[in-house]
Amino acid sequence: MSEAVSSDRLTIERSGGFAGLTMHTSVPLADLRPGERAAVEECFHHPSTPPSGADRFVYRFRVGGREAVVREERLPGAIQPLLDRLAGSWTR
């Protein structure tokens, strides 16, 4: 992860999947909608879970010094609109 982890941006890493590509994106916290902010916050309190099945994506969220790893199948539903909005912004 080359990008500095800043306290005013949410950075997201998506790894795994059949392809095993590790992709990155980020968004200013100020651009998050209230429901999305709450969903991201929920991720930071998410208990770690073992993978179910195989080839699923794994998300890593970072804000400032905080980090959360959440499996695709355990993402809060309210975070999906944010991921849909960022769909075209992933870089390798």
Partner: protein, 360 residues
């Protein structure tokens, strides 16, 4: 050591070195003894299990060999429990290309497992094969969710539809077979073995379908599904890990093992090492890779010779034992397996029980 005729150095020599040698010599000797001990254990387990798993002829009473497939439509939603059926077993082709590719690919994979390995579906008990297509919006992935094989259409940039490559379908179904047999934990080395086994049998399904020998096959995984944002020929190369596309970082040997916390500890990265080991075995044996190399790997799975947290070294040892059980301790197959794991650096030269053995 009795019964291990493949070893050219008398085992009691190793024991003497282990007791009286220098520190380095002692460690090497102890490693060798440990490998030999685990081979004998696994061989004994295999011998006990080989009876029931031995090749059952097609048509055995009570055995089916009849596939049942259902393909569901996720309708571009992240819905793993979609209920709209696009094509059920025996129905005419759908107007939807992805649905037909999934239906045909699951059929080809079923046929491979039944005709080659006499395995009756994922659970070896006629389990229905459930496929789901058009998962998510521009979803760049295919996965096994524990019940279904689920395929995205791809973003069109990184990937196009995942049902277009037969080895991808075979890969996903094989995750189910692994789950029902050795259930390798999806993390670190055991996860990379889980991934590798899916690549191995995914490729074998394709080779069997195309009638390709080990020499003729491409050994590529994810051929023909790369979008314009990916530069290369496929996602992974079992023959030359790390060369399939511009961002391919798969290692080809243990010296380049990648330590990472992403992707469950690099399960899709370090799978390059056991992938190449399998390719080397198949290519050294020659002919159709599913006949002997594939059977050795399958023997490890079906005899449950390893535990879920199995590491590369233990798996390598188990394949050696399986090869010895199936083809004899002095066989060319055992030598091919030993040489392959030596080449990728999983077993060091001093650990190879057959490294100096020449079949006579």
């Amino acid at each position: 050591m009795r019964g291990c005729k493949c070893q050219i150095v008398p085992p009691n020599l190793f024991e003497r070195i282990a007791r009286h040698g220098s520190q380095e010599e002692r460690e090497a000797a102890l490693d060798t003894l440990a490998v030999d001990h685990s081979i004998r254990l696994i061989r004994a387990q295999n011998a006990a299990l080989i009876g029931p798993m031995a090749q059952r002829p097609v048509g055995t009473p009570g055995r089916h060999g009849v596939v049942h497939r259902t393909i569901y439509n996720a309708k571009y939603r992240n819905d793993e429990h979609a209920t709209t059926v696009m094509r059920d077993e025996g129905q005419q082709p759908s107007a939807d290309e992805s649905a037909n590719q999934a239906y045909d690919g699951l059929g080809d994979t079923y046929r491979f497992y039944w005709e080659v390995l006499t395995r009756d579906s994922i659970d070896d008990a006629s389990m229905s094969l459930l496929g789901e297509v058009h998962f998510g919006s521009k979803y760049d992935n295919a996965f096994w969710d524990g019940e279904r094989m689920i395929f995205g259409d791809g973003s069109g940039t990184l990937f196009t539809g995942f049902t277009a490559a037969l080895e991808v379908i075979g890969h996903e179904l094989t995750h189910g077979v692994t789950e029902k047999t050795i259930n390798l934990r999806y993390s670190g080395q055991s996860g990379a073995l889980n991934e590798s086994i899916s690549d191995v049998f995914g490729c074998l399904v394709k080779q069997y379908k195309l009638g390709q020998t080990a020499e003729q096959a491409t050994w590529l995984v994810g051929e023909g599904i790369l979008g314009p944002g990916m530069h290369g020929v496929a996602l992974r190369s079992m023959k030359e890990p790390g060369t399939a596309f511009d961002g391919d970082n798969q290692p080809a040997d243990m010296a380049h093992y990648v330590n990472t916390t992403s992707d469950n500890g690099g399960v899709h990265t370090n799978s390059g090492i056991p992938n190449r080991a399998f390719y080397l075995v198949a290519s050294a044996i020659g002919g159709n890779a599913w006949e002997r190399a594939g059977r050795i790997w399958y023997q490890v799975m079906v005899s449950r010779a390893v535990q879920p947290d199995c590491q590369f070294h233990t798996f390598a040892t188990a394949t050696l034992a399986a090869a010895a059980t199936l083809y004899g301790a002095n066989s060319t197959e055992v030598k091919a397996v030993a040489d392959a794991w030596g080449t990728v650096g999983v077993l060091s030269a001093s650990q190879l029980p057959t490294s100096a053995a020449v079949p006579t």
